[in-house]
């Protein structure tokens, strides 16, 4: 099985704070991988490094076969759904879509499934700053899936979504998986991860505490529910 993401010895420090202390892991392509860990374990920093928003101090990161060196082309195959949607204030939803569309360039068949399922139509003509948090998050999700990316990075995807919307999103994740995409989900909602993911990367204090399948983690921890297994591993502390 090929890996969509390969990290070796990834380190990052913000001033005195050592956020990543040498992260090594592989994320299989064509699978849903859960990225878990307590607050401050380095999940967001890791995701930002994968996107090139933040640069690692040392180590190697290979995403979809591209070694990250500051070039931006690989992001044409990546869809990102940030934790809180950030959009330029004065633009309308449609303008945001058009702008991103023009940056992605031609050659993408678009997946409008989410836009339609969320019924965002009328909301797209309003300035983004007037949208409710939930609707902004829907736009955010629709944008991440719109260009059928090979790699989807979702940071707390269902936070702020109502049950119907998060149901739609989960369906879409399933559809993307069937279409062959690799999906990385950072979340604290274990029940949701148990439902969606097969693999898990567990970050603790800036290093990978566990990686493998969810079933393995459960077996190692001796628990039959992911939430308990994760909590137990967390309490056991870093290796």
């Amino acid at each position: 099985m090929t890996s969509a993401i390969e990290l070796a010895g990834l380190k990052k420090r913000f001033r005195r704070l050592e956020v990543l202390r040498g992260v090594d892991c592989r994320i299989r392509s064509g699978c849903v991988t859960a990225l878990v860990g307590p607050n401050g374990a380095g999940k967001s920093t890791l995701i930002k490094i994968l996107l090139g928003l933040t640069r690692a101090d040392s180590g190697r990161a290979v995403v979809l076969g591209h070694c990250l060196d500051g070039s931006s082309g690989y992001r044409n195959q990546v869809g990102y759904m940030p934790q809180a949607a950030h959009f330029p204030e004065n633009l309308r939803g449609l303008e945001v879509l058009n702008m991103v569309r023009s940056l992605r360039g031609p050659g993408h068949s678009e997946d409008r499934e989410l836009l339609d399922a969320f019924a965002l139509g009328p909301e797209l003509t309003k300035p983004v700053r007037t949208l409710s948090g939930g609707n902004r998050q829907k736009l955010n999700a629709a944008l991440a899936f719109l260009f059928r990316p090979d790699l989807l990075i979702l940071d707390e995807p269902t936070a702020g979504l109502d049950p119907i919307a998060s149901g739609i999103l989960k369906q879409q994740i399933g559809a993307a998986l069937e279409a062959g995409a690799t999906i990385l989900i950072a979340s604290h909602v274990m029940s949701e991860l148990e439902e969606l993911a097969t693999d898990i990367v567990f970050l603790l204090e800036g290093t990978v505490r566990f990686q493998g399948s969810i079933a393995e983690l459960k077996a190692t921890a001796g628990e039959d529910r992911l939430e308990r297994a994760v909590a137990r591993t967390m309490l056991a502390g870093p290796r």
């Binding site: 928003l53 931006s72 990546v78 330029p88 004065n90 633009l91 991103v100 940056l103 992605r104």
Partner: protein
């Protein structure tokens, strides 16, 4: 190239909706129109505008530039999650602000001259200096915003820079002249002029407008040293360097910035 254009387009659309830019243009329009009402001919209006241009453009460039940069953080994060290079994004952000500011200034000053007539070469120099100051101080503002992660600190620093370059500088120059008047000061004075783009613009304008009485110490030294033409060329080259340096330093920081 195409990407840069796309980003610029959205930045311009964003700027066009901003009331600040419109207010800035209107301010120059009212000022110029008012001077025509009170003060007669085109050349005299240009001379009256000199101080407004020398103080207002750096102030607005610095404050508005830094504010705009802090404000665009969301836009930057959205763009950088797309296949967009940082150099292209930086160029788009800079052009997206410097261009509307220049346009607002040029229209605000230019329109009254268009219907009243007059101005001539003096007006063109004024517009040129306004453009240069906008480019310089927008670049400096971005650099300041990159140096201070904290918005309040950054805005404070931008304001201090303006006070320093626009107002305190003249006082310092005068102080140096008073204290060291017995020594040959020509060359140090000349160097001081090149160190401040506002001072440099003033000298450039006053040489062009040919009003020796208003030139002050640095202006007189400058003219004496260079003569008119060489002085203008030297000042123009220095202004180019002043535009390029902050842009280059800012871009270097931007390339390494963590979001």
């Amino acid at each position: 190239m195409k990407t840069a254009w796309q980003i610029l387009r959205y930045q311009l659309r964003d700027a066009a909706r901003s009331r600040w830019i419109v207010a800035y243009g209107l301010l120059f329009l009212l000022l110029t129109e008012g001077l025509f009402w009170f003060g007669g001919g085109g050349e005299r209006v240009v001379v009256s505008l000199v101080n407004a241009v020398l103080l207002l453009i750096p102030l607005v460039g610095l404050l508005f530039g830094a504010l705009h940069f802090y404000h665009s953080r969301d836009f930057m994060e959205l763009m950088l999650a797309q296949p967009v290079d940082r150099s292209v994004l930086y160029a788009g952000l800079y052009g997206g602000l410097a261009l509307p500011l220049t346009l607002a200034f040029a229209l605000g000053v230019g329109l009254p001259f268009a219907w009243h007539g007059g101005g001539g070469a003096a007006l063109i120099t004024l517009l040129g200096v306004g453009l240069a100051l906008t480019l310089v101080f927008t670049g400096v503002a971005f650099l300041v915003a990159l140096a201070f992660e904290d918005r309040a600190k950054g805005m404070g620093a931008a304001l201090l820079l303006w006070l320093g370059a626009g107002i305190i500088w003249d006082g310092l120059v005068l102080l140096v002249v008073l204290l060291f008047g017995d020594f040959p000061l020509e060359r140090p004075m000349l160097a001081l002029t090149f160190l401040n783009p506002i001072d440099l613009s003033r000298v450039l304008l006053l040489i062009q407008l040919d009003i020796a009485a208003l030139m002050g110490y640095t202006g007189a030294v400058f003219r004496h040293f260079f003569g008119s033409t060489a002085g203008v060329v030297a000042a123009a080259v220095a202004m180019l360097a002043w535009t390029a340096a902050p842009l280059w330093l800012g871009f270097r920081r931007f390339r390494r910035k963590d979001f």
